[in-house]
């Protein structure tokens, strides 16, 4: 079992996607609806409570093992709020994007599992939604009431998005 190795006072910023599902802002891979103006708290109930969405890369979902909610994210489990460390990492992962995806930046704090290419966090809140798509097939919906409810900036995605260093390694 991994123990906390360092403590910080500034939130970590990562890059992730959301999707509009049932008229609400949801996590992309699972039905987890994000709440405006409140810290969103990670919970884990094991596989039997999770329905995975999305293309081939996430159909099987992360490895989830039973443990108490209060320890989410558990390093040995696959739970927590996910985010990539860099925007290129995210865009490489999104090679088969879906129409209603929203890309953006997210604040992460609390207990955080620091992984090779990203994070899994206990608490999360959107930092910024990107208002334009990276490519045409990443259609973007930036004018919804649901997004505005989070009271965070909605801005164009940075133009200089290069390929991640590990893209050729996989």
């Amino acid at each position: 079992m991994m123990h906390v190795s360092d403590t910080y006072i500034l939130p970590v910023v990562g890059y992730r996607v959301w999707v509009l599902r049932e008229g609400k802002v949801s996590s992309y891979a699972v039905d987890n609806f994000w709440i405006p103006k409140r810290a969103n708290v990670a919970q884990c109930g094991g596989y039997e409570h999770v329905k995975f969405w999305g293309p081939h890369k996430i159909q099987s979902g992360p490895r989830l093992i039973p443990h108490a909610n209060y320890v989410a994210p558990f390093a040995e489990c696959g739970c927590g709020f996910y985010a990539f460390k860099t925007l290129p990492y995210l865009m490489e992962w999104l090679e088969h994007g879906e129409p209603d995806i929203m890309v953006g930046e997210v604040y992460l704090w609390g207990k955080i599992v620091d992984c090779q290419y990203g994070y899994r966090a206990q608490y999360a809140y959107p930092k910024r939604f990107y208002s334009n798509s990276y490519e045409d097939n990443y259609a973007y919906n930036n004018s919804t009431f649901q997004v505005r409810e989070f009271s965070v900036p909605v801005e164009p995605i940075p133009e200089a998005v290069t390929q991640p260093e590990f893209a050729d390694e996989r």
Partner: protein
């Protein structure tokens, strides 16, 4: 999302939660305190 294998676990305790707060209702304007008119002082 495939974020790779866990490397370490950290704790982030921000001084302020990065969550926008609800707009606070504006305070009603206070009426000036009543001051009785002073009688003119005879020279």
């Amino acid at each position: 999302m495939n974020v790779g294998e866990p490397q370490r676990v950290i704790e982030v305790v921000p001084l302020h939660e990065p969550v926008p707060s609800e707009p606070q209702p504006a305070e009603p304007e206070k009426e000036p305190a009543y001051e009785p008119e002073k009688e003119p002082v005879e020279p």
